[in-house]
């Protein structure tokens, strides 16, 4: 099996390559089929891996070649498939395949499908590469590749400058996180002269003491990378804007897969975090804050995709919380369920937006109200799963488990309280959307039928959103505990509270979504009457983070850059002209040259000085014979003077 590992990232890569190179010879609709086939091959390979027993065997390995061999710096193009990776590739490849299929009809009308599918395939390849990479540098490659594709796909409709800017914003913001990751890689390499993840982690656990400086630094740097990619506080600002891309893209990249890359990264390097408990705790803290942040911001949004975007931020916060509490397996579980239900929500939202003339506003969507029942049911399932509707939804199982696990972590009750409040808010905001959109007057014209590929992919996702949770029943319940058992060897397990505590926590977790739905009902009624939420404007702008960054970072940066530009322009152009015109004296040139830009000013000053020297000397060549003789005599006087002196 292991010799086929390369196929997992390789087939979408090949797909992208074929689209790029041979695209000129293909028709628009062939792109979608080609791309879907590439995604399907990847998915089938993963499936094959399951069937061949990858789930139970030792991690699979495949090394293609050494990428950059310099001394100890020996990153390979090599893949490792362990259980963590297996979960991730399964989620990514399956959702990827579904979204490819969904896109066939969704993008059918677009004239630039070549670019779309190129980047979609490339994204899939990058994501799978990131997951399978057996060394940090290859991981970084995948990491950047998905960032790039995200950039390109957010700005897919680039003619709108706002969308193009959103892409750039996403790229640059995540790149700040990437910088941190890169530094982390340098640090680890510098310490261990090794890039392979497994060896690094093994070395780290042996050589570093818990809580010492190095692991803290390393973990912090990696955390920085994860925060950027996963849109956690304070680098979350790019994600809401990223909704400018096509909805399938939002579903795939900005909900199901890429934003969870940070979660994956931390899970992958969790031994480092265990060596740095402080950092681990801050992971949890960041997660908690982000939960509240995202949920509260989502509460006030009127754009359906923005609600989902803030919801994503918030839900990834849960995963971080889980990671911070050491419940890595649970984080992964929530990652999986979230991938399905959030993809489902995005795709239904996308379908609605599509069929309603690009209408994003939930009020207006509700007023139009002509939604097919499939859409309605799918959205309901997704919303329930997101809210963690007890027992029947996948979201309940993953979220409840995280909440329970939180309790026994350091400062657990506090974290739990926040997370639970977030859970309440989640139910409120998502059902607010549901009630707005689907309880409106049904006045519109009858719906056009939804094409088969869309129906299929929505149905599969909806099903998954309900059933995936059953792999892991809550602590103390009868039923399966497959997930945590299976992953325990690789990811460890969190400590659990006592059973009694657990039961009460579980009860609360069951009740909160129900309360939330109730609150949502009330809220929607009152909002329809014109009532505004307190702080709505503040929340709607995502706590004004953009403005804050504008003020404290971006503006000063540009100002500084402009300042330097002006200085240069002033120095080179201005003075040169001025000097050539009036033949300024060398003294002036020197004086001005002492200012900041010694560089160009001194050059122009030099030129002017030389010119002045030329003019002065040239003036002596005035054709007067006596003057010439005088100079000769002066020379003689000078030379003779040397002897007297």
């Amino acid at each position: 099996m292991s010799q086929f590992l390369w196929l997992i990232p390789g087939s979408p890569m090949l797909g992208a390559l074929i689209i790029a190179l041979l695209g000129g010879y293909l028709k628009q609709r062939h792109f979608s089929i080609l791309a879907s086939c590439a995604a399907a091959v990847a998915f089938l390979t993963v499936l094959l891996a399951w069937l061949m027993g990858a789930a139970t065997s030792q991690p699979l390995q495949q090394t293609l070649y050494t990428w950059i061999g310099v001394g100890n710096w020996m990153p390979t193009i090599g893949f490792t498939l362990d259980r963590l990776a297996l979960v991730m590739v399964s989620v990514v490849s399956s959702i990827g395949l579904l979204i490819h299929i969904y896109s066939i009809t969704f993008m059918a009308g677009d004239s630039d499908q070549r670019r779309y599918y190129f980047f979609l395939n490339l994204f899939l390849a990058g994501m799978l590469l990131l997951i399978l990479a057996d060394n940090l540098l290859l991981l970084y490659l995948g990491w950047e590749l998905v960032g790039l594709c995200s950039f390109a796909l957010i700005g897919f409709w680039y003619r709108d400058p706002l969308r193009a800017s959103a892409g750039r914003k996403a790229f640059i913001t995540t790149r700040i996180g990437d910088l941190s990751l890169a530094l982390g890689i340098f640090l680890l390499f510098n310490e261990f002269n090794e890039l392979s993840v497994s060896v690094l982690l093994a070395n780290a656990t042996v050589q570093w003491e818990t809580g010492s400086q190095m692991p803290i630094l390393a973990a912090l740097l990696i955390l920085g990378g994860a925060i950027g990619k996963s849109a956690q506080l304070p680098l979350q600002i790019w994600l809401p804007d990223a909704m400018a891309g096509p909805s399938p893209v939002s579903a795939l990249i900005h909900a199901a897969t890429m934003v969870t890359a940070g979660v994956y990264l931390i899970a992958r390097t969790y031994p480092l975090f265990e060596l740095a408990p402080q950092v681990q705790w801050s992971v949890a803290a960041i997660g908690t804050l982000t939960i509240i942040y995202g949920a509260s911001a989502a509460l006030a949004q009127n754009d359906i995709k923005r609600v989902l975007a803030y919801s994503t931020i918030s839900q990834v916060g849960y995963m971080f919380l889980a990671l911070g509490c050491g419940a890595n397996a649970l984080a992964l579980l929530h990652l999986t369920t979230h991938a399905f239900f959030k993809a489902l929500l995005f795709l239904t939202a996308g379908t609605m937006i599509r069929t309603n003339d690009n209408e994003h506003n939930i009020h207006n969507l509700g007023k139009r109200g002509n939604h097919s029942s499939l859409i309605r049911w799918c959205f309901l399932i997704g919303a329930a799963s997101l809210a963690g509707f007890p027992i029947i939804t996948a979201g309940f199982y993953s979220k409840e488990a995280i909440l329970t696990a939180t309790w026994s972590a350091p400062t657990g009750p506090l974290l739990w309280a926040f997370a639970a409040f977030g859970s309440l808010l989640t139910a409120v905001y998502i059902f607010r959307v549901y009630f707005f959109v689907f309880q409106g007057s049904r006045s519109g014209s009858p719906m056009p039928p939804i094409p088969a590929p869309m129906t299929w992919s929505l149905s599969i996702l909806a099903l998954a959103s309900l059933v995936v949770g059953f792999v892991e029943f809550p602590e103390g319940w009868p039923g399966l505990h497959l997930w945590s058992d299976w992953l325990r060897d690789e990811l460890g397990s969190a400590s659990h509270p006592t059973l009694a505590t657990a039961y009460s926590l579980q009860f609360i977790a069951c009740v909160l979504p129900l309360i939330g739905i109730g609150v949502a009902l009330v809220l929607v009624r009152r909002e329809k009457l014109g009532f505004e939420l307190p702080l709505a404007a503040f929340l709607r702008t995502g706590w004004n983070f953009d403005a804050l960054y504008q003020i404290i970072l971006i503006r000063p940066y540009f100002t500084l850059a402009r300042f330097f530009k002006n200085v240069e322009a002033l120095l080179i152009e201005g003075t040169l002209q001025k000097m050539t015109r009036s033949g300024m004296t060398v003294a002036t040139a020197c004086r001005d040259g002492l200012e900041y830009g010694v560089l160009n000013k001194s050059i122009t000053g030099l030129l002017a000085g030389l010119r002045l020297g030329h003019m002065r000397l040239s003036a002596t060549q005035n054709g007067l014979l006596s003057r010439y003789a005088l100079m000769i005599s002066a020379g003689a006087v000078f030379l003779l003077g040397y002897w007297l002196w």
């Binding site: 005088l630 005599s633 003689a636 006087v637 003779l640 002897w643 007297l644």
Partner: protein
């Protein structure tokens, strides 16, 4: 006595030369020049060079001065004609420079103790002739070429029928 004549002649030579410096009229200047040259001839004689004294009188006072005067006549030069004052503005610098040069030269010449004086013994024309046609033979021959070249040059330049 010898000394008195010597210094007197020297004074004449120098004063006559100074007169050229300020003489307004070219003809006057030329005459001052002759005086200076003749005084110099006397000095040559006093310094034991009778041959050179004679040559000085003949070549300079005789030949060259005639050339000068001839040219002055031909060009009909007069003072004030297109002529700024002899020591026009801007004379101070050059004069100062000349003064410094003079001081430098005097300093140099008096710094070296070559003051010992032999009795004046005339160096006979014969000795000069022997030197000229002995070691300096080649120079004499070459000097002839120089004169020839000057002649050719002068001839060419003074040709009338130029296009």
């Amino acid at each position: 006595m010898y000394e008195i004549i010597f210094y007197l002649t020297s004074a004449i030579a120098v004063l006559a030369a100074s007169a050229i410096l300020i003489a307004p009229h070219p003809v006057h200047a030329a005459l001052y020049l002759v005086i200076s040259l003749l005084a110099l001839a006397l000095l040559f004689f006093l310094l034991g060079a009778p041959l050179l004294a004679a040559l000085q009188v003949m070549i300079y006072a005789g030949a060259i001065m005639v050339l000068f005067l001839f040219l002055i006549m031909v060009m009909n030069l007069r003072p004030g004609q297109n002529q700024s004052a002899p020591l026009a503005s801007g004379w101070k610098g050059p004069a100062f420079l000349a003064l410094i040069l003079l001081l430098e030269l005097l300093w140099i010449l008096n710094r070296f103790q070559i003051t010992a004086t032999n009795n004046i013994t005339a160096i006979e024309p014969k000795a000069v002739g022997l030197a000229l046609f002995g070691p300096y033979l080649l120079v004499v021959e070459v000097a002839a070429v120089l004169l020839l070249a000057a002649l050719v040059a002068a001839l060419y330049l003074s040709r009338k029928e130029r296009s």
